[in-house]
C-alpha cells in the first residue's frame, strides 16, 4: 500500500496513476487525451496537477503515485494551466457547436463550458482543412481535431491496423494516413474504432449526420446480428428508429471494438426491401394450390405465410429423404442465429433427417 495526500486528504492505494487513484477516491480530474480503453499518452495537458517537489505541472493520467506524494488537483495554478490549454485549443477551433454532430457529446465542449472559456486571448492563424467526406462511413473534419491521438492509438492498440498516424511537425502536424490519402486508399478497414474514441466532432459517422443529438436518442444495448462473434453495441434510437451504432465499452465479448458491418451496417433495419413475409416460387404455389397466388415485388415469387412455407419445406425434405436417403440432404446454418437456434438446427439434421451434413457459415 502506498500512502499519499491528494488535496490534503490522506489516501491509501495499491498503486496506479494519480488519475486512477483520484477517480477511485471520488476526486474528478478533467481529461481529454485519456481514454480508459487506451494506453495513457500525457498529450493534452488538461489533467495537469501539482506534485510537490516538481518544477513543472505533471499529467495525472501518466504520473504514477509514490509514497508520501503530495498532490493538488484543483489549486489556482492547476486551474489556470488547464484554462490556458483550453484557450489555446479554442484559438484554433471552429466554434460551430450549433451544427456540429458532436454537440452535447463533446468532451472539448464540456471542458470549455466547465472552465468558462468564453473568449480566447489569442488571435492567430487557424487550421483550414477541407471537410473530408470522400470516404464511405467516416467524415473527417480535421479543423475540429485537437491532436489528442486517441484515434491513432485506437487504430494501433485495439484494431492493430495502424492506418493513421501524425504527419508533419509543429502547427502543421495532423492526423492522416501515410501520404495523407483517403482512408479507402490506406489499409483502413473502416472498423470505426477511431470514431468511437474521438472526443470531438473531428471524426463522425457519415450516415448518422443530422439524425439526432446525444440527448435526443436512447441507447439500447444489444448483440450484433451479423456474425458468430456476438459483439455487443448500443443502438442509438430516436423516435423508434435506429440512427447510429456506438461502442458499448463494458462487455466481455468485444470490449467496445466492432467491425465495419456491426458499426456501419444498420440501415437495413428500416429498409423497405427487407423480407418480412416468406416467399414461395410461383410454380410451386401453382402446383400446390392451383391458383396464381398473391404477387410479390420479386418476379417468379409469391408472398405467403409461415405455415404454408414451412409445410412446403418439410414436405420437400421428407421427399428427398425417402427417395434418395438422408445424406441427400445438407443443412448450412447461419451465424446470425443464436447458439440455441443453431443447436436446434443440428438436432433437426442429425435426429430428424439422420444426416451429418450440417455446417455453419462462421466456420468458413
Amino acid at each position: 500500500m502506498t500512502t499519499l495526500t491528494i488535496n490534503g486528504k490522506m489516501i491509501e492505494a495499491p498503486g496506479g496513476t494519480i488519475l486512477e487513484v483520484s477517480q477511485a477516491n471520488g476526486i474528478r480530474i478533467p481529461t481529454l487525451c485519456h481514454h480508459p480503453a487506451l494506453a495513457p499518452k500525457g498529450a493534452c495537458r488538461v489533467c495537469l496537477v501539482e506534485v510537490k517537489g516538481s518544477r513543472v505541472l505533471q499529467p495525472a493520467c501518466t504520473f504514477p503515485i509514490s509514497e508520501g506524494m503530495e498532490v493538488q488537483t484543483e489549486s489556482p495554478k492547476v486551474r489556470a494551466a488547464r484554462k490556458f490549454v483550453l484557450e489555446l485549443l479554442l484559438s484554433d477551433h471552429p466554434k460551430d457547436c450549433m451544427t456540429c454532430e458532436m454537440c452535447g457529446n463533446c468532451e472539448l465542449q464540456d471542458l470549455i463550458y466547465e472552465y468558462g472559456v468564453k473568449e480566447t486571448p489569442f488571435v492567430g492563424e487557424q487550421h483550414e482543412y477541407p471537410l473530408d467526406d470522400r470516404d464511405p462511413f467516416i467524415i473527417r473534419d480535421m479543423e475540429k481535431c485537437i491532436r489528442c491521438r486517441r484515434c491513432i492509438r485506437a487504430c494501433d492498440e485495439i484494431q492493430a491496423v495502424n492506418a493513421i498516424t501524425m504527419i508533419n511537425r509543429g502547427f502543421r502536424s495532423k492526423v492522416a494516413t501515410s501520404f495523407d490519402t483517403r482512408l479507402q486508399d490506406s489499409n483502413c478497414v473502416f472498423c470505426g474504432q477511431c470514431i468511437s474514441v474521438c472526443p470531438t466532432g473531428a471524426l463522425t459517422e457519415k450516415d448518422s449526420h443530422g439524425l439526432g443529438r446525444a440527448w435526443q436518442t436512447t441507447k439500447v444495448t444489444t448483440t450484433c446480428p451479423y456474425c458468430g462473434v456476438g459483439c455487443n453495441f448500443d443502438l442509438n434510437v430516436r423516435d423508434g428508429k435506429v440512427v447510429k451504432v456506438t461502442s458499448h465499452w463494458n462487455n466481455p465479448v468485444n470490449k467496445g471494438a466492432l467491425c465495419v458491418k456491426g458499426r456501419f451496417g444498420w440501415q437495413f433495419l428500416h429498409s423497405p426491401d427487407r423480407l418480412t413475409k416468406p416467399l414461395m416460387k410461383s410454380s410451386l404455389w401453382k402446383e400446390r394450390k392451383g391458383t396464381e397466388g398473391a404477387p410479390s415485388r420479386y418476379e417468379g415469387f409469391v408472398e405467403t405465410d409461415w405455415e404454408t412455407a414451412l409445410d412446403a419445406v418439410a414436405e420437400g425434405l421428407l421427399t428427398a429423404k425417402s427417395e434418395d436417403g438422408p445424406d441427400a440432404v445438407g443443412i448450412l446454418a447461419s451465424a446470425k442465429c443464436t447458439n440455441e437456434e443453431n443447436y436446434l438446427i443440428q438436432k433437426l439434421a442429425r435426429r430428424e433427417i439422420g444426416t451429418n451434413n450440417v455446417d455453419h457459415c462462421a466456420r468458413l
Binding site: G42, L57, P59, K77, V85, L88, R169, G170
Partner: protein, 540 residues
C-alpha cells in the same frame, strides 16, 4: 584481445603515427587549440586518422576499457560519480547516477530468457541545435573514443547492446562509425568476452531523419523503435523502462567521449578541472559576430568574456557586444552584464539560460533582440512534435506575436499576452522543448525590454533590423564628407560634395543599409519611422 596484444599494437602504431603524421586540415572548422583551450574530448581530433583504430590505440585508446573491466561495475559507477562528470547533452545529469539507476532496474527484473539484451546503452548523436557541431567533430574525428566510452558505460550499467543515434545530415560521421565499429569488432574490443572477461557488448548505428525533437531521449527511443519520435512523459524514466521497455541509459556523444579519459587519468584529474559543481571541460561552437568563429574546448568556469574576446578574438568590425545566446534555441540571451559570469551549469541556469549542448551565438549592436527571439521561436515552432497544445499551439501564438512586433503591428496587449504565454508554456508543456522554447523570449524581454517597447510603442527597431521600422540619417556634426556612402548607395539617393556633409534623399531611400555599413565614422544613425519606399503594406 589481451593487454599484451593491445600494448604491442600501441607501440607499433605510435611509431607509424610518428613517421606518417596527421594534421588538422587547414579548411576544417576545428582549428589547432588557441591559448586558453584545454582539449580532452577533442584531443585526438585532427591528430589521428579516425578510420584507423590503431591510431586511436596509439593514443592509449581502449586502455581505459581494459582497466574498467578489471573493476567491479559498482566501482566504475562510483569513480564516474567521483569525477563530477555531468551530461553534456543539455540537462547536466551525472551519467554515473544514470548508470546506477539502470543497474538497479536490471537487477530488479528477471534476466531475459529470450536472448534479448537485459538493458541498452544509447549514444545520443542527434545534435539538432542550429549551428552546433561539437558532437559531429568528435564522431568524425575520433569515433573510437565514443565507442570506448560506450563500452565502459555499458559495463557499468549492465547493457550488452548499444546504439549510436546519428542524424542523416552527418554522412561523414556515419561513414567513420561504419569503419570504426567493424575494426573494433575485429580486434575483439566489441563483441563477446571483451578482454577475455565475462562481458559482451556490441554497437549498431541508427540514423535519424534530422528532427530536433528526436534528440530528446524519449523521442529518440521512439525513433529507434521505428516510430515517429514524440517525447513521452516521465516517469517511467528510460533508466527504468526505455528502449523496448528495457532499462536504458541515453548519454550524449561528448559525455561518453570524456569517459575513457576519466578512467585513464583518474577521477581526481578530471575533478581538478572546472568549478565546484561543473567539472571538466566543455566544447562550444562559437558563431555569430565574432572574429574567430568555430569549435573550442575550454575548462568549465571560464567566463564569456574570455571565450569571446581572448579565444574568439572579439567582435567583428569593432562593433559593440550586445548579447550572447547560449544553450541553443532553448537557451537564453545574456547581455553584457553577464560577460564575467563563469560558464557552468548553475551560473547559466541562474541567469535564465542553459548550458545546452554548447552553442554560443554572439550578437552585436546591429542585432535586434525581438527579431532574434522571433528567429528562435520560428525554429522551435517548426520542430515542435505537435503532441501537446502548450507547445504546438502556444509557440505558434508566440511566433505570431513576435512576427507582428517585427512588422510594426505589435500592440501593448501583445506584450501582456507574450508574458502570459511564456509563463504557461514553461510549466504546462510535456517536454523540455516546449518548456525551454520560451527562454529566448523571456531573457530578451527581461534584459532588452526597451527594445520590445520601442517596437510596440514607437514602431521603431533601434538596431536597424526590422524592415519598415526605421530609417537612416546622416549626422551633420559627424559626417566629414568622405563620400563612401554615396558611392555604395545602389539607388544613388545620397547627395553631397567632397568634404561637405552628405544628405540622404529620404523620400527615395529604400533603407537597404549599404551606406550604414560603408560609413567608417559612425556618422549614420538609425532613426524611427519608415521612408515612403520602406513602409510595410498595411496589415489586414
Amino acid at each position: 584481445m589481451t593487454l599484451k596484444e593491445l600494448e604491442r599494437i600501441r607501440a607499433k602504431a605510435q611509431k607509424e603515427l610518428a613517421v606518417r603524421g596527421v594534421e588538422i586540415p587547414p579548411d576544417s572548422e576545428l582549428k589547432p587549440p588557441r591559448p586558453g583551450e584545454v582539449r580532452v574530448v577533442l584531443r585526438n581530433c585532427g591528430l589521428i586518422d579516425p578510420e584507423r583504430i590503431e591510431d586511436y590505440i596509439a593514443k592509449d585508446g581502449y586502455f581505459a576499457l581494459y582497466k574498467v573491466l578489471n573493476m567491479a561495475p559498482e566501482q566504475v559507477i562510483d569513480e564516474a560519480k567521483r569525477s563530477g562528470l555531468r551530461g553534456r547533452g543539455g540537462a547536466g545529469f551525472p551519467p554515473g547516477q544514470k548508470w546506477f539507476f539502470a543497474r538497479q532496474a536490471v537487477a530488479a527484473r528477471p534476466a531475459p530468457t529470450d536472448g534479448t539484451p537485459p538493458a541498452y546503452l544509447i549514444c545520443n548523436g542527434d545534435e539538432g541545435d542550429p549551428g552546433a557541431f561539437m558532437d559531429r567533430a568528435v564522431l568524425e574525428g575520433d569515433p573510437n573514443s565514443v565507442l570506448e566510452g560506450m563500452a565502459i558505460a555499458a559495463y557499468a550499467m549492465g547493457a550488452t547492446q548499444g546504439y549510436i543515434y546519428v542524424r542523416a545530415e552527418y554522412p561523414v560521421a556515419v561513414e567513420h562509425l561504419r569503419t570504426a565499429i567493424p575494426q573494433a569488432r575485429r580486434l575483439g574490443l566489441l563483441g563477446k568476452n571483451i578482454f577475455g572477461k565475462d562481458f559482451d557488448f556490441d554497437v549498431d548505428i541508427r540514423i535519424g531523419a534530422g528532427a530536433f525533437v528526436c534528440g530528446e531521449e524519449t523521442a529518440l527511443i521512439d525513433s529507434i523503435e521505428g516510430r515517429r519520435g514524440e517525447p513521452r512523459p516521465r516517469p517511467p524514466f528510460p533508466a527504468v523502462s526505455g528502449l523496448w521497455g528495457k532499462p536504458t541509459s541515453v548519454n550524449n556523444v561528448e559525455t561518453l567521449a570524456n569517459v575513457p579519459q576519466i578512467f585513464l587519468n583518474g577521477a581526481d584529474w578530471f575533478a581538478a578541472m572546472g568549478t565546484e559543481k561543473s567539472k571538466g571541460t566543455k566544447t562550444f561552437a562559437i558563431a555569430g559576430k565574432v572574429k574567430n568563429a568555430g569549435l573550442i574546448e575550454v575548462p568549465m568556469g571560464i567566463t564569456m568574456r574570455e571565450i569571446i574576446y581572448d579565444i574568439g578574438g572579439g567582435i567583428l568590425n569593432k562593433k559593440k557586444f550586445k548579447a550572447a545566446q547560449t544553450g541553443g534555441p532553448l537557451g537564453g540571451c545574456l547581455p553584457a552584464k553577464y560577460l564575467d559570469t563563469p560558464i557552468d551549469f548553475e551560473s547559466l541556469a541562474a541567469a535564465g539560460s542553459l548550458m545546452g549542448s554548447g552553442g554560443l551565438i554572439v550578437l552585436d549592436e546591429n542585432d535586434c533582440m525581438v527579431d532574434v527571439a522571433r528567429f528562435f521561436m520560428d525554429f522551435t515552432q517548426d520542430e515542435s512534435c505537435g503532441k501537446c497544445p502548450p507547445c504546438c499551439l502556444g509557440t505558434k501564438r508566440l511566433l505570431e506575436i513576435l512576427t507582428r512586433m517585427t512588422q510594426a503591428a505589435g500592440t501593448a496587449e501583445d506584450m501582456q499576452t507574450l508574458e502570459y504565454l511564456t509563463q504557461n508554456i514553461a510549466t504546462a508543456s510535456l517536454c523540455a522543448l516546449g518548456q525551454g522554447s520560451v527562454n529566448p523570449v523571456v531573457t530578451t524581454m527581461r534584459h532588452f525590454r526597451d527594445e520590445y517597447e520601442a517596437h510596440v510603442n514607437e514602431k521603431f527597431c533601434p538596431s536597424g533590423v526590422c524592415k519598415g521600422m526605421f530609417h537612416y540619417e546622416i549626422l551633420a556634426d559627424v559626417c566629414n564628407g568622405c563620400g563612401a556612402c554615396r558611392k555604395k548607395c545602389p539607388d544613388k539617393v545620397i547627395k553631397g560634395d567632397k568634404k561637405v556633409v552628405h544628405e540622404i534623399d529620404l523620400p527615395n531611400c529604400i533603407v537597404c543599409g549599404d551606406c550604414y555599413k560603408a560609413c567608417k565614422f559612425e556618422a549614420i544613425a538609425i532613426r524611427p519611422g519608415p521612408t515612403p519606399k520602406s513602409r510595410l503594406p498595411e496589415r489586414r
